[in-house]
Symmetry: C4
Subunit: 232 residues, 4 copies
């Protein structure tokens, strides 16, 4: 069932390895069918080279595995928590991409320093608080989703489609999993450029709000002018 | 019409992705037929993998789209402004290549530190001033071209075939779009080497003017000795 | 004889070059048949492109070459010493991967800064003491294994499956050579991320022990939940 | 004539681009037939993709072009000067590889920090003095070779098979051009690792002389034990 959803999840997982964002099995992507409340996710610990659409595991939003002979990714509860917390999203991606993970390990947000960043993120890429010992001890992956949702209490997940989990690594999302994959790449590129810019100018502040606004809304929202009109 | 021009623009766009200078759709290249006052430019937001010569959009120097069913790149007014401001150029390239963009975000020029730089740029790779709130609010892309032309009031665009737009990224140009592509790669390589050299020797000054002159004129101008004589 | 063992050693050597962990002939991998006390190792100085399973050299744990017309890797005594010192391992890998080797040259351990590290290493990646002039002068490669085993007197080689040899480069190991290859990649990635994290936050301390424990034991030991159950 | 020599020079030039040591046309390799006093060198400014063995230009040690319809590399006089100054070498390579060039631009030698370096270079990779205005003004490329030979007055070019030309980039050499290519890669890797090691430990000194000696002589000279015996 849900062949198209499984194909979409597979394509996202494979694109992440082609983009060099995932090494070994350090990452995963899922795609949600919001109407049915079911998402397709990568099986746990299976090498990417051998991955087939039929290996994708179907899980519902109550956490029940509804199809698939393999165990789903160990991060499945994090994905589920994000789908429950962010009603507008249809895809979630997790990577350990090098430069973004370096910021996550340091517990620092990725500052918005230029228009590359502003084209996708309306402000810095935030970092969560650390999990407590208790949150680590029980339902760790579910609680990982919890600190992300908590961090976004006053943020719009479609305006800042990604986060760094403290000491861990980035998660990104979007209306579709393909958009979450794209955001995962943007997070990595912006992390790398931020490190370089700060080496060149250590006291560099954030991009001016007028330019941030101009670039973000050139690509997003009703007044956007970027790309092709649907149906054209 | 202008099939050859569209082929040239397509080839430039594809070369930029092969060189790793463009990720996703973050960049564009155009080629100008100066006699007809028409340039061929990449359509907006179309993935590079699917790009065909017939997708290139033809725009005249008054900004009118003269052929093509797709929207041209959102940066088209910047290209147009450069073609109007710099009479000797026939190609424009825009990328968000990582190290050059890091300098642009920091608002710092790329210093001329060695002969690799001097072979293509007769001095530092300059950075524009920031755009004002008003320039960002109206005709943003046209004004982006404006601050570039303003920066080159006392510079020769063929001796310094590229610039960093403050908080944004590099633009390069040349007599042909193929030369603009080559300059885009040189800008990125020189940015990376400058960061590394300054880490090794933080107080390093610019290359001595005699050596700068020797290398630049070995490749450019009437006394050049590099390469093969035309027709040989 | 031992065709499968030679195939396994060959596959490991080739994977290391595909992963970019070995340049030229700077590295080697071996696979041990513990029951027979024989290991298959790369021949010395043979380019990777031309390597065949039949080129693998068979050496026993007394150091005697039992098959193969080529000389074994010059690091063979180091591998042998590790197989003798660490009874649970079945594969050894040596690379000069760039970021890990940078730590080795500096004589500094790779600190455990995040969960990517904790998934494979239960604590920092240690560094050996320097060899003495006498240890360098006689049986240098055997003594290289000796300082590694000495460094692990109070460490569990399966919980920290790798080490940096001071002024030299990393060695990794595992129950199988395939696992040693995977650890070699993790060492390199963690080294690169550690350098980046410390640039972002120079005073950054190690990952909290609760999170280190949680991630390590998610993948290792009787309570592990990662991956697929054997036979599933 | 000298088909084999031209093939050897071509293979070296192509290997350098495959290794990522040469971008665009920024580099060249030549192979010498010492008995005939003729070397084969890359033509000037020809893209690597189109290079054929018959394009290689034959030049004698007096600087006369003895075969080839294309102009030889503009760096030909530097190669010739090195062949005249270093009697034991049979190949010369010039690249602008990024990390080595960063050291050259900074006017700093690459320090010997570990065994990867010691396997090929018996000590630091030296840097030349700057050329004088007069040396730049006349016979610039010949004088570039001159400052290299001057720098090696008390050094053995086979024990330190490469140099950084100040403000410019590395040159390497060897008994064969294939060995010069290998040294060009080692120079780049050691430059990158040196930058990283010095970031980890800013006051790091050179490798201890006993270990330098052990590694260099493991691979070079009558007592070497690395690799396969000729004829084996």
């Amino acid at each position: 069932m849900l062949e198209e959803l499984k194909q979409e999840a597979l394509a996202a997982n494979l694109q992440l390895t082609r983009d060099g964002l995932i090494h070994l099995t350090f990452g995963n992507a899922s795609a949600l069918d919001r109407a049915r409340g079911i998402f397709a996710i990568k099986p746990s610990g299976v090498p990417y080279g051998a991955l087939k659409a039929r290996d994708m595991v179907l899980v519902d939003l109550d956490g029940k595995q509804v199809e698939g002979r393999l165990n789903p990714s160990s991060d499945t509860p994090t994905h589920r928590r994000l789908y429950l917390g962010f009603q507008q999203i249809g895809g979630v991606v997790h990577t350990h991409s090098l430069h973004a993970t370096a910021f996550a390990q340091a517990g620092r947000p990725i500052p918005a320093l230029g228009t590359t960043h502003a084209d996708t993120f309306f402000g810095e890429i935030p970092v969560t608080r650390k999990l407590t010992a208790k949150e680590i001890g029980n339902d760790y992956e579910w609680n990982t989703g919890g600190v992300i949702v908590e961090r976004f209490r006053r943020l719009n997940p479609l305006e800042q489609p990604g986060v760094l989990v403290n000491r861990h690594a980035p998660f990104t999302w979007g209306r579709t999993v393909a958009m979450a994959v794209e955001s995962a790449l943007v997070v990595e590129l912006c992390a790398q450029m931020a490190i370089l810019s700060l080496r060149i100018a250590p006291r560099l502040g954030s991009i001016e709000s007028g330019l941030l606004d101009r670039h973000f809304h050139r690509k997003h929202g009703p007044g956007s002018t970027y790309g092709q009109k649907p149906g054209s």
